[in-house]
Amino acid sequence: MKIVKLSILVITILFIWFAQNHFDPYAVSILNNIAIFAILALSYNLINGVAGQFSLEPNGFVAIGAYVAALFTLPSATKLDMFALEDPAPLVLAMHASFLPALIMSGVVAAVLAFILSIPVFRVRGDYLAIVTLGFGFIIRIFAMNSPTYTNGALGLNDIPSTANLYWTGFIMVITFIVMLNVIYSKYGRAMKAVRDDEDAATAMGINTFWIKTYAFMTSAFFEGVGGGLMASMLTTIAPDQFSFLLTFQLLIIIVLGGLGSMSGTVIGAVLVMGGTEWLRFLDQNMDIFGYNTGAHPGLRMVVFSILLVVMMLFARRGIMGNKELTDIFRRGK
């Protein structure tokens, strides 16, 4: 068993090294995208699939992570130049760190916010939770729009130092994966699954459901923040509009396709959805069907993905992996 896991790890690391050095920039950018979305979806799956708390907030935490990392890594001179609407706040100018501490700070800020948020949010269950967290995602965007001293408002931040490459995204993805698996197979992870399957029964067994949910929420927020920081560094430019509900929707498709509660399924889902988004790019462009030009249809890909999501839920609710991991399949073979 150990050998299978180790060889998967070694192959992944070799692949990251090979891809960074030998693939063309376009392929590397797709792989980067896949890795970042895998990080986000892995952490999103912890709260949604493992702890069973259907929440819709990742775009909020990703936005926070992206802004924090961007503000930490931007040099003060650039900040002074860039903030066109109002002068940057003193705090913004004082923030300075290299990339790794900036990423960690992104995660920490998101996790602290998750902790504060969990107090009102986990008083409710089910669909209420979904809508409150959805609202939170909106509020973060509205604040980003309306606090020009911190976020430069709707103009967003540009010229963010582009430090992240496939080593960063790939290795953080691997770390996220390992951390998530360790959380799931720890006593906390078992408690999360108990809360998912029957919250009242879990309470009766002496599990403090509020703390377990908060713990899952904070872990999830931490990695979403880190993923957001990576995203900011990859794109080098961020604006509030990038962190709309569309982002959450993409993550939701990834975890549903891969299987709610399955971490290896999530990675497979990230590869399929992000690869598919790239592959289906032709749908949004001009097409000639038997000599008839259909014109450009921006958004057609998303129509396809939303149909895919509904069909998945209706006919294949368990996704590709169900709630199993890849290693479980090997185990059954023996």
Binding site: V124, F143, S306
Partner: protein, 297 residues
């Protein structure tokens, strides 16, 4: 702040609140029966507004366009239920929520592909857009018509729920679906009726929105729908009267805050959620005080 401006803002608040109320009733009806937040409800509203716009701008008289819009919103609502919710009645709640989000996203992007994301100006007929000057207060006709129509529709809805055979069936479904089926009531038909009612009201709300803020776009349903939902929870979800009260409170707050504290104007859209969070923190059952698990309109 003089009394005239105050009156002016109150009138605007009533109008905005009516729109939220109309949309909130749909959330409350569906939640009352199925215990499901119909995420696609805001987008059904968008469908209504768009159909009205397309029909009206291609030469159909406004009144007929409104009827077309209501009918197409009802069809969309019923189809949403049949395709995305009905097969999952016995599935875990999370599956239903995911298909609801899928349908919502599908409608937004479908209309985006078909009609483009550029906001379009909604040209309402003159008798709706005309303006009355009354003792120095400027009153657009819409501001009078919208609350009146809302009240009429509210009474019709309450009458259907409380006085008719179908209303009784809807109320009984809210208690216990399996038992109601055993009584020989066609539960699926009644649920269809609930979706049709909610969608029709949403379409009217959407048209009002399009007339008062004369612009529509495929994504208009998201934020209005969410606010209407916040209004429904504020009033006590599952209660029709509560939805209306919540809608008015939300509408007033938005108008008053923007009028008296213009520097907070950018945060207008955040109020609904701050309200929602506060209500859930301190009084999760909302103003009308229905028990969340056992609502009864």
């Amino acid at each position: 702040m003089d009394i005239l401006t105050f009156m002016q803002q109150m009138i605007n608040g009533i109008s905005l609140g009516s729109m939220y109320a109309l949309i909130a009733i749909g959330y409350t009806l569906v939640y009352g029966v199925l215990r499901l937040i119909n995420f696609a409800h805001g987008d059904i509203m968008m469908v209504g507004a768009f159909v009205a716009y397309i029909a009206h701008s291609s030469g159909v008289p406004f009144e007929l366009a409104v009827i077309l819009a209501i009918v197409s919103a009802m069809i969309t609502g019923i189809l949403t239920d049949k395709i995305a919710y009905k097969p999952l009645r016995d599935a875990p709640k999370i599956s239903l929520l995911i298909t609801a989000i899928g349908i919502s996203f599908f409608l937004e992007n479908l209309f985006n592909v078909l009609f483009g994301g550029v906001p379009r100006a909604f040209a309402a007929p003159d008798y709706l857009t005309s303006i009355i000057h009354f003792k120095g207060i400027v009153i657009p006709m819409t501001v009078i018509i919208i609350p009146v129509v809302t009240l009429v529709l509210l009474f019709i809805t309450l009458w259907i729920l409380n006085k008719t055979k179908y209303g009784m069936a809807i109320r009984s479904l809210a208690f216990d679906i399996p038992t109601v089926k055993l009584m020989g009531i066609n539960a699926d038909f009644i649920i269809m009726l609930v979706f049709a009612m909610g969608s029709a009201l949403a379409a009217i709300g959407g048209i009002f929105y399009a007339v008062s803020y004369p612009s529509i776009d495929p994504l208009m349903g998201i934020i209005v729908g969410l606010k209407a939902f916040a209004a429904a929870v504020l009033g006590g979800i599952g209660s029709v009267a509560g939805a209306v009260i919540g809608g008015f409170i939300l509408g007033f707050t938005e108008i008053v805050v923007v009028a008296f504290m213009p520097e907070l104007g950018g945060y207008k859209d955040a109020f609904a959620f701050i309200f929602l969070i506060l209500v859930l923190l301190f009084r999760p059952t909302g103003i009308m005080g229905q028990d969340l698990e056992r609502s009864r309109f």
